[in-house]
Amino acid sequence: MIPDLSQVGTSETKEWAPVDEAPHIMLDHVTKTYGSVMGLNDVSIAIKGGVTGILGQNGAGKSTLFKLIVGRLQPSSGNVHLFGTNPFKNPAPYSRIGYVSESEHLYDWMTGLDFVATLARLYGYTRDEAKEKALHVLDFVGLGDVANKEIGKYSKGMRQRVKIAHALVNEPDLIILDEPLAGCDPLARTTIMNVVRELGASGKTVLVSSHILSEIERITEQIIILHNGRLLAIGNLHAIRELLDKHPHRILLRTDNPRGLGTAFLPHEDVYGVRFPNSDELVVETNNLSSVHQALPRICHESGIRVTAIENPDDNLESLLGYLVEGRS
């Protein structure tokens, strides 16, 4: 054992008492640059409790934000507080967080149980305690039956789940999940989403990032939107959706008689136009999406025209960002 005397005051060798009442995460005008590239630009947030979705396209700054929070990076300017402490200089708050990075690299030669138990021992657990806790969390994420299988033989979804398991082994108060659904099959996605929802329901603070709006929508209503390193919006996803609904929006319908169906839609007071991009497609343009959606079944039924598909091409993150940033729909 080599005690690290240089860490006195920052490691566990000193009593560390977090201010429980403080936000778990607090960023104060944080900017992070990589040379001339702006990773995060003057972001200020405070988070405590609940599940918060971080939405943003690739390169928006989601991972940078998480890396700053967990002390992998230090801000170029501003301050980051994790449980009231600077996470870059002090590893003590790590005992209360679980972090799942976006990195796909794992120790493929280890079994899932080894991986989780070995890392659990870094919280100061004994070998037996670590193994017991590792088995528990592996069960929780649905990997109990493959705990003794090498990680190299895991599927993508299992790899994501073992990463989540390792982040939960210390029963953290704050869980940070960077793109946990990336590359997962539908079954794994459902499992992971359920895990995240359960964690939120159990009173943990959960931060989960994604660049897919529908994924976040299924997990939480509380979102933070990042765009080009800037904090674009904080709030309730449904409220933002309502806001969007009041602005130009498109509904794409596939049918063998688009013109007939378009004629049926035109009398509706909230429809201001129809287009026919293809011989089997109808685009209905509206300023009130929910109103048209409510009327849509009736109009289709009354017209007697068969509709094979309904899509909302503007119902994605790109459209949302386009609206928020540029005011276009």
């Binding site: 405590k48 790590y94 990075s101 449904h238």
Partner: protein, 517 residues
């Protein structure tokens, strides 16, 4: 902002003109956040609030309150001090140290490069041992230095025997009576006058004329013209001896002056094998174990200890835990040491055992090399530790160029090692790890071979052996404090430890400031 670190929430950072299109809705949706923040602000205000002023109390009451607080603090400290051992910080550090060390060892086990590097080291040692075994098992033809084993006149009696009996070795008709004196076999007159040295560096009067060709002792005619007229050519006032010029402080011999025909025909094979064996122990110890294995194993096994994890993006699994970065570096090195020290020990032990059986010795096993091997083991351990720490630190400082810098450093170390072998007092070599490792072996070899300089000097007198070059090349007396091998040993160990600690400190400082992107 410092007064109220959360007031920025009251003015959400959004792109102007976007959220403001419907400020009411968005503001209302962020109500949850604002409520949290307001709670947080209040909580922080409470947490940072000053305690009630003592001025509100009477002075004695305040004093009593302070005493109670002090007593409670002492009680808390005592309770902390007597916690069960398993709950102390130290035992938790132990657990972390063991976990990282174990993890590092298991990681080594899964890497092909580990087995390749360790395997090459083993093959290298095995090959050198084979060469050594062959050298020791093959015989050396002894040289008749004074030529008295020859029968020049062909009368059947060797020259040495004829001189004793006073007959003419150049005349075939002049020889002892065959009925009274049987001719000696020629081998009797090879190696018949060995070197007599009592190992006392303070006694300059050494040597003994075993065959009597200086003193005439045992000769029929001790006034023979074959005996030297001047029996004290070394001018020390003693006939037929060998004068040694020595330094009893440094245990070194500077010069050997022998009177005529004294100690002139020693057992060449014995000296040759002994000097070759010692040259092997020192040479292989310094170059093979301490330097080559000592630098190549760490180069390939330690440089990537932290660097590889940073490059692969897996270091955060360990660093994201409540463990200081400096600890991670130290414990990773601990894992490296747990692999390479036993490895070096096994290699050196095997070499010591094999050479112990094959080396020239009066008994089956040659024990008196053990202190030299222990010195080599110590030097290997410390050099592997120092090089490992330095290379690991270079990997941390520059993940991209760390290996190349380490290779350049290795070239420097090689140059310094070569200079240290030839000129151990050259000051520049003191800046290298290899110099101090070699110095440790120098110190312990003097303890193991107190007659080292004697053997070198004797080997030097017999140029026909050609073996003195190897021994002279690999042997150096301690150079830090001349004549005090123990003090030199301690200083060398201390310097290597200082190098290690310094490199560890640099590595830890660098890692603490490193961003893991």
């Amino acid at each position: 902002m410092e007064d109220d670190p959360t007031d920025f929430i009251k003015e959400p950072t959004v792109v102007p003109g976007q959220i403001s299109k419907a400020p009411t809705q968005v503001d209302s949706t962020s109500e949850n956040f604002e409520r949290q923040v307001e709670d947080a602000v209040q909580a922080q205000a409470l947490a940072t609030a000053q305690p009630p002023q003592p001025s509100a109390q009477s002075a004695p009451a305040a004093a009593a309150g302070a005493a109670v607080t002090q007593f409670q603090r002492v009680q808390t400290q005592a309770a902390q001090a007597f916690r069960p051992l398993t709950n102390t910080v130290w035992s938790r550090l132990d657990r972390k140290a063991t976990a990282v060390t174990e993890f590092t060892l298991r990681q080594y086990r899964t890497k092909n490069s580990t087995w390749v590097v360790l395997g090459i080291g083993m093959v290298f040692v095995a090959m050198i041992l084979m060469f050594y075994g062959e050298a020791m098992s093959s015989g050396f033809e002894s040289v008749d230095n004074d030529g008295d084993s020859h029968d020049y006149d062909g009368d059947g009696y060797p020259t040495g025997q004829e001189k004793i009996y006073g007959t003419n070795p150049w005349d075939e008709n002049s020889h002892p009576d065959p009925e009274l004196v049987t001719p000696d076999p020629p081998e009797k007159w090879i190696d018949e006058d060995g070197i007599d040295w009592d190992g006392d560096y303070s006694n300059s009067n050494q040597g003994f004329d075993d065959d009597g060709d200086c003193t005439g002792v045992g000769w029929v005619d001790n006034e023979s013209f074959e005996l030297p007229r001047n029996q004290d050519t070394n001018r020390d006032g003693i006939n037929c001896n060998v004068r040694y010029t020595m330094n009893s402080t440094t245990n070194t011999i500077y010069r050997i002056n022998a009177d005529p025909y004294v100690d002139e025909d020693p057992d060449d094979e014995e000296f040759l094998k002994e000097s070759l064996h010692r040259a092997f122990v020192l040479g292989f110890g310094k170059i093979g174990f301490a330097f080559l294995i000592g630098i190549f194993v760490p180069l390939f096994l330690a440089t990537g200890l932290v660097r590889d994890e940073m490059e692969r993006g897996t270091l955060h699994y360990i660093m994201g835990k409540p463990i200081a970065r400096a600890e991670i570096l130290a414990y990773r090195l601990l894992g490296y040491i747990a692999l390479v020290w036993p490895y070096a020990t096994v290699l050196i032990l095997v070499t010591a055992i094999v050479t112990g059986f094959l080396a020239p010795s009066d008994s089956i096993f040659r024990f008196h090399d053990m202190s030299a091997w222990l010195g080599i083991l110590l030097a290997s351990w410390l050099m592997m530790l120092a090089y490992g720490t330095i290379f690991c630190t270079l990997g941390v400082i520059s993940p991209r160029f760390g290996l190349w810098i380490a290779i350049a450093f290795g070239v420097w170390e090689f140059a310094m090692a070569m200079i240290s072998l030839g000129a151990p007092n050259f000051p520049l070599t003191w800046l290298s790890v290899s110099h101090w490792g070699i110095e440790i072996i120098n110190c312990t070899s003097v303890l193991a071979y107190p007659d080292q300089s004697y053997l070198i000097e004797i080997a030097g007198m017999n140029n026909d052996w050609g073996s003195e070059a190897a021994l002279v090349g690999f042997y150096s007396p301690p150079s830090v404090i001349a004549g005090n091998s123990f003090a030199s040993l301690l200083i060398s160990i201390f310097v290597l430890v200082v190098f290690t600690v310094f490199a560890l400190f640099i590595g830890q400082s660098s890692l603490k400031r490193k961003e893991l992107n």
